[in-house]
């Protein structure tokens, strides 16, 4: 096991900065997911841990040792690539034993270790096959087994499930989490899929692209609950959660904002502002009861019936609002006009200028 620490790390490709001022610690045995849209630097950060991308400034430590310039093989890491990076000219046994052979271990020892790890990942019957003859899931297991054989302090995963179909992805997700529990090693996992991020990580680092004008990549680093229920800024609020959080800019009047007829008192940090950005997740938005509190009038524009729940999209005077309703089949009809109200305990407020959370 080993901790990974980034201290003010910057990574540039030529003159183009990709990662700026990154400070983040992956604790011993922790499962951290790096998530963000394309170009946010998540794979570059992972590759910098592996030694496949150079660090331009700052320090990166693995197990307390500065590793900025260390050889990839000396970093106590193993990596599972998005493409699995299996050697197509070798059998599964050859792929698994490759590193051991390079490190000069004896044939009998290699055979024993390969057989052991193959049994762990359920590949014992496939050792003689080449990667081309395996399914996507089996290839994934070979890649995982190759990583296990290194007995590293840190496992790195670069979008390892993105090539699998949806059903298998769910199964492999659970398998990797189980694997983390049994191995106890630190794991850094890159994905653009927020479901993977939410369901797998002990902590999530939400990253944003510098090209979109952000001063640094790291937008928030916290547990899935923190990131979901207390997004630190508008970027995280919008990025995490499906369907996305409803976000509207409302004028502040008398220390409150109005959501249609519904009045919401603001915290002291927000009352001095001219406008405030208000966010509410679709599952917290409510359909008002007839004759109940006044809300915002909206017309049903689109209905997605998912069986166990409905996703309703409304057009309103202040923009489109999305509501997730668990009462499948009993909601309003398409084109029907209803009144929407906010759950005042589940409102997220952001400063329009800095886009940071207001509490």
């Amino acid at each position: 096991m080993a901790a990974v620490e980034f201290q003010n790390v910057g990574i540039s490709f030529g003159n183009v900065p990709v990662v700026k001022d990154l400070s983040l610690t992956v604790n011993d045995g922790e499962f951290v997911v790096l998530v963000g849209p394309s170009g946010c630097g998540k794979s570059t950060i992972l590759r910098s841990i592996a030694g496949l991308a150079g660090i331009s400034s700052g320090d990166m430590r693995i197990g307390g040792k500065r590793m900025n310039d260390a050889d990839p093989a000396a970093r106590d890491i193993a990596m599972v690539f998005q493409s699995y990076a299996l050697f197509p000219n070798m059998t599964v046994a050859g792929n698994l034993g490759f590193g051991l052979k390079i490190r000069g271990e004896g044939k009998a020892e290699i055979d024993r270790k390969v057989a052991d790890v193959a049994a762990v990942v359920g590949l014992s019957d496939h050792l003689h096959k080449r990667p081309g003859a395996l399914s996507g899931g089996q290839r994934q297991r070979v890649a995982l087994a190759r990583a296990i054989l290194r007995r590293p302090g840190v496992f790195l995963f670069d979008e390892p499930l993105s090539n699998l179909d949806a059903e298998f992805r769910t199964a492999m997700r659970a398998e990797i989490v189980r694997f983390h529990r049994t191995q106890g090693a630190s794991m850094v996992y890159v994905t653009h899929d927020q479901t993977e991020a939410m369901t797998m990580g002990d902590r999530i680092a939400v990253l944003a692209p510098l090209a979109a004008g952000h001063k640094a990549n790291l937008m928030q680093y916290g547990t899935p609950d923190e990131v979901y229920h207390r997004p630190a800024n508008l970027f995280v609020a919008r990025f995490i959660g499906t369907p996305r959080m409803n976000v509207v800019t409302l004028p502040v009047k008398g220390g409150a904002v109005r959501f249609g007829g519904q009045q919401l008192a603001l915290p002291p940090s927000a009352v001095r502002l001219g406008n405030v950005i208000l966010g509410q997740r679709p599952e917290h938005l409510r359909l008002s009861q007839e004759g109940a509190e006044p809300g915002l009038v909206g017309t049903v524009e689109h209905i997605e019936n998912l069986g166990h729940e409905m996703i309703l999209t409304f057009s309103t005077a202040i923009g489109q609002m999305v509501l997730r309703d668990a009462r499948s089949g009993s909601g309003p009809m398409l084109g029907q006009t209803v009144r929407l109200s906010l759950d005042p305990n589940q409102v997220h407020l952001f400063d329009p200028a800095s886009e940071q959370r207001l509490d």
Partner: protein
Amino acid sequence: MTRARRATILSYAILILAGFLSLFPILWIMGISLKTQADAFAMPPKLIFVPIWDHYAKVWGDAAFIKGFFNSVLAALLGNLMAFVIGIPAAFALNQRRVPARGAILAWLLLSYMLPEFLFVIPMYGLFQATGLYDSVFGLALVYQTFTLPFTIWMMRAFFADVPFALYEAARLEGAKSWQILLRVYLPMAAPGIAATAILNTIRIWNELAIALGLTFDKAQTVTLAVAAYRGYASIDWGALSAAAITSMLPMLIFAVLAQRQIVGGLSLGAVK
């Protein structure tokens, strides 16, 4: 007749014409090699004749031709060996490392492959006389590097470029050095590329005449010179010349048929990517 059918007939007609045009000279020479002198030059040409094997017996019994044939085999082996020993690491470095002006280097390699062979003969003549490489198969194979080496580097780099870079990175993470990655990952994966390059190099070396003419005299004469030797000062032994030409063609013909897939693969490299 439908338009598609007309197009099919037209393409077959063109193919038959092209096939006839390329095969006719070979068949004609083969005919001469199997005819008596009188039959060979009879007018109108004799299409029905009794084949004779005298010319082949003469050529296959001719020590100078046999020596030329095996000199060419040796020159092809040595030429390929030198080209791969130097060309493979060069191609790997060009592909894997950040080489300044890589594009210009690749363009120059292709250009030098196209330079006329005689360009090298005159400066090399003096050098080879001085160093004792004149009239040696080793010397010939060395000069053949002027075209085999750039071609080998060019081809191998293209084949290496087809190997996903993640494999290189995965091997590095396992602790493999660059040369180990080259030997254990890249070369096995680029094996069809090596075969295609070796075949194309061999064909070029086998058919080479100008350099062999300028830089050999007796000991290292190649098969092309041995064929040309039947063209005497005062007369031409057409029968033997034709038999020698057909004999010299056979190894490449067999080679080409056996390795057709690799040759086409090598020639169409990068055509669809």
